[in-house]
């Protein structure tokens, strides 16, 4: 198990470095820059001075190594958008609303989705199954900004039960979290349904039934455990996806989270901020997949490649 984790860690490090290289050079390959003449018509002399102050006059590979050296020391630089601040400080503040929104969205949506998927699988081809499938299909096919708009129209404009947007007070959280939760809910409902149907039809379930085990024990102790692998695969990356996936929800409901920084850092060519956001997400995805692999190994020892063969 330890060597399995070690090998995984090495591959995480390699992925991280490769991704950082790709992001860094692609970011600089896009025409324009933070002091592009179209956006900021300052004189040539002043532009040169500004670029030199930020080290943007150096060759790209020097800029890359400087930046990554900083990253190794947890220094993500100073955002051009907010020179009095640090990227770390700025993101640590903006991450809170995103985490609340995304985290609660997944924590509420995923279990509900699992329940819905289970209900659908256990009542296959009945109205419960059709209803669950319809909800899941809607959740997956309708873009989140449309569901957001519908929620605002119904609950804020027509019924006037909840505020349409904004953050701060818990009642303002309800609609954006609901809008966001629909994504994991729909995803989980679909995954759970198909995974359970797959397991239920396997021979060992028939054997268990023949042994006379109660249906409840079969479902919760055996079927669900055996259906868990695809669910684990989706869960952590989806959790990490909260950092990026909620851009639309944040915009529609005016949540002061990371989404706005994502958009504005790209618009204003705020390299340190752009880079930090991408690196953090890469890192979190890497860790998420690593954790997924460990959980797989715990659920199903056959997956411990090299460890248990």
């Amino acid at each position: 198990m330890i060597s399995f984790i070690l090998r995984r860690l090495i591959s995480v490090a390699v992925t991280f470095i490769v991704v950082s290289l790709i992001i860094f050079f692609m970011m600089h390959a896009i025409p324009g820059g933070p002091f592009d003449a179209n956006d900021m018509p300052v004189s040539e002399a002043v532009r040169d001075k500004l670029m030199a102050n930020l080290g943007l006059d150096q060759p790209l590979y020097v800029q890359y190594f400087r930046y990554m050296w900083g990253v190794l020391h947890f220094d993500f630089g100073v955002p051009y958008q907010s020179p009095g601040d640090t990227v770390t400080g700025l993101l640590s503040r903006a991450w809170v609303p995103s985490l609340v929104l995304g985290g609660l969205g997944v924590l509420i949506g995923a279990p509900l989705g699992i329940l819905l998927g289970m209900a659908a699988a256990l009542n296959r081809n009945t109205w419960i199954d059709y209803l669950a499938s319809t909800v899941a299909t809607f959740g997956l096919t309708i873009p989140v900004f449309v569901t957001s708009m519908l929620l605002i129209l119904v609950f804020a404009v027509w019924l006037q039960w909840l505020p349409a947007s904004g953050w701060g007070k818990p009642e303002r959280w309800i609609l954006p979290i609901t809008a966001y939760a629909l994504i994991p809910l729909a995803t989980y409902a679909r995954y759970t349904r198909s995974a359970m149907l797959d397991t239920i039809n396997r021979p060992f379930v028939t054997v268990l039934r023949a042994k006379g085990l109660s249906e409840r024990r079969i479902i919760f102790q055996h079927v669900l455990r055996n259906s868990a692998i695809p669910l684990v695969t989706v869960f952590l990356p989806m959790f990490i996806g909260t950092a990026t996936g909620s851009i639309f929800v944040e915009a529609m409901f005016r949540v002061p989270g990371l989404g706005a920084y994502f958009v504005s850092s790209i618009e204003t060519r705020d390299y340190p901020l752009e880079m930090a956001l991408m690196l953090m997400i890469t890192f979190m995805y890497c860790i998420a997949y690593l954790l997924s692999d460990i959980v797989y190994a715990l659920i199903n020892p056959r997956i411990r490649v090299g460890g248990g063969q």
Binding site: G84, F145, I152, A156, W161, A164, P256, A260
Partner: protein, 538 residues
């Protein structure tokens, strides 16, 4: 199970019934308004215009500004006068103005603001060069002269003297963007003074309560130290740029979370039907027009240009394709803009017969033999982004129909479009222009002596040059009108449309700012000083 359901249902109904009643009522009057830019670096207009924080300018008092009817009104200045030779202006400040930290606001704070702008990489420096014409500006910004040589002097605490390189009769209107910078604070903290709410001081009708940098939203409060004209009539102003997109702004408005919202073309009919008294048109003082390379065929022929001029049905264009997010343009100056000449605008009529005749006169009867052309427009967001692509397609169809020609369309990034214009690599363009300062010279300047279009029309240049330095306003306007007549007579441009923005406002809003001016415009995102200080809420 049934009992559980009953309890849940009862709870839901109870919550629904009590929710609206438990909303706290605000003792203060607060207006929630949409902002524009979702990112801002400094809360200091004189540090950066393009990356300024939301409404940084509302915190400071300009020398002068424009009122509801777009008339120039003194603000920090009490009066101004021009020297005999027209080169020196003397501005007298109002006594008793103070910074929010209690320090007196002096002439030095204004002079310091521009001196710092000239030396500190200010992105609006060109404005004080070509619009302001301040003596020594170019040399100082290029680093070849010392800042002390600028034509700016604080004679005493309340007197500012400005010297220009040529007579600038409209200089007071240029000062509408001249805000003070607190020298005493900058001396202590440098540029950092404008980064944090705690260190920002104000001189205008509003103070800063909070600034959320992730979306550039701010909360401003009525200043209790400001003694100048136009005091705020509301207690708080919450400006949220994430409400700036109509797709977010209108739902928030409908739910009562915003006091007004801008509308996109799809929303205009719905909002107009539901709030017939709440619709407001907002002038942006911009014009979209066709310009040409005058030196090469086929547009070196005046007849061809005139044919294009008469082939545009502007009324149909604005009412159908653009759904009234623009008004027809007959001249380069928009209605309400100083020097606007309705007589010249009225000449721009849709006359397909005349257009055909001019084409025939040019040797292209029914378009026969006319080369295939490609009109270039610039990739843009905002109101131009909503207007220009649709307009280009409309023109393409109309020119085919009326003139019998094939016009292709090409969209280019800003830099490449500008390059095409300057180096004449193409021969026909859709060009948008938005004012920088409220004076006719701003619009006429873009065609003056090369300008941005490479036009060299000696008689036009002579008139504009004379008008630019003429101090008698009636004579100036007459000269500009003559210059504009040349533009129209020679069909140097085809004025197309003046973009406007449309918004819906709550019936709770009142005050002078909430009603349209004589031209039917309400300044919702222009002239913020006037608007937000003349707005009330029930």
């Amino acid at each position: 199970m049934k009992t559980l359901l009953k309890i849940a249902g009862a709870l839901a109904v109870a919550t629904a019934m009590t929710a609206p009643m438990t909303m706290p009522s605000l003792a203060q009057t607060t207006i929630v308004a949409p902002g524009q830019s979702t990112s801002g670096t400094y809360m200091d207009y004189m540090k950066t215009v393009y990356a300024r924080a939301t409404f940084a300018e509302l915190l400071q008092v300009p020398i002068a500004t424009f009122d509801k009817e777009f008339e120039l009104t003194p603000m920090a200045a009490e009066s101004w006068s021009q020297s005999e030779d027209g080169l020196t202006w003397t501005f007298k400040l109002r006594p008793g103005l103070v910074w929010s930290d209690g320090e007196p606001l002096t002439a030095e704070d204004y002079v310091f603001a521009l001196q710092r702008a000239a030396t500190g990489g200010y992105d609006f420096a060109w404005y004080w060069d070509f619009a302001g014409g301040i003596k020594g500006w170019k040399e100082v910004t290029e680093g070849t002269a010392d800042v002390s040589t600028l034509g700016l002097v604080a004679v005493d605490d309340l007197t500012i003297e400005v010297t220009t390189v040529a007579p600038k009769p409209y200089l007071p209107s240029v000062t509408s963007l001249w805000y003070p910078v607190p020298k005493h604070v900058v001396d202590k903290l440098g540029d950092d003074w404008a980064l944090n709410v705690d260190t920002i001081v104000s001189s205008g009708p509003f103070d800063l309560e909070s600034w959320e940098k992730s979306n550039n939203s701010v909360v401003l409060t009525k200043s209790d130290t400001y003694t100048g004209p136009w005091q705020a009539q509301i207690d708080r102003l919450e400006v949220d740029p994430s409400l700036g997109a109509p797709e977010v702004g209108l739902p928030a408005f409908l739910a009562g979370d915003a006091d007004y919202s801008f509308l996109n073309t799809g929303q205009v009919p719905v909002a107009t039907q539901r709030y017939p008294d709440g619709i407001r048109k907002n002038a942006v003082f911009a014009t979209s027009y066709i310009s040409y390379d005058l030196d090469s065929a086929p547009f070196n022929d005046e007849n061809v240009r005139k044919a294009f001029y008469y082939a545009v049905d502007r009324a149909e264009l604005t009412s159908t394709v653009l759904k009234d997010i623009a008004i027809p343009a007959g001249s380069i100056l928009p209605p309400g803009y100083p020097g606007y000449n309705p007589d010249i605008a009225a000449e721009a009529v849709f006359d397909p017969e005349k257009a055909k005749q001019f084409m025939a006169d040019a040797g292209f009867a029914d378009g026969a033999g006319f080369p295939e052309i490609e009109i270039w427009y610039r990739e843009e967001g905002g109101y131009n982004g909503a207007i220009i692509p649709a307009m280009a397609q409309y023109l393409q169809a109309e020119f085919k129909d009326v003139l019998g020609i094939t016009m292709n369309i090409r969209v280019l990034p800003g830099a490449e479009w500008m390059d095409g214009l300057r180096n004449k690599t193409n021969n026909i363009f859709i060009a948008p222009y938005e004012y920088d300062y409220l004076d006719p010279s701003n619009f006429y300047g873009i065609f003056f002596n090369g300008g941005r279009h490479g036009y060299h029309i000696p008689e036009y240049d002579a008139l504009v040059s004379q008008a630019d330095s003429e101090s008698d306003w009636d004579t100036r306007y007459k000269l500009y009108a003559e210059a504009e007549q040349i533009m129209i007579d020679q069909a140097l441009i085809v004025p197309l449309v003046h973009p406007i923005t449309i918004a819906v406002i709550s019936d709770e809003l009142g005050g002078d700012a909430s009603t349209p001016n004589a031209l039917g415009f309400t300044s919702l995102d222009r002239l913020g000083h006037y608007f937000f200080t003349h707005l009330t809420k029930q």
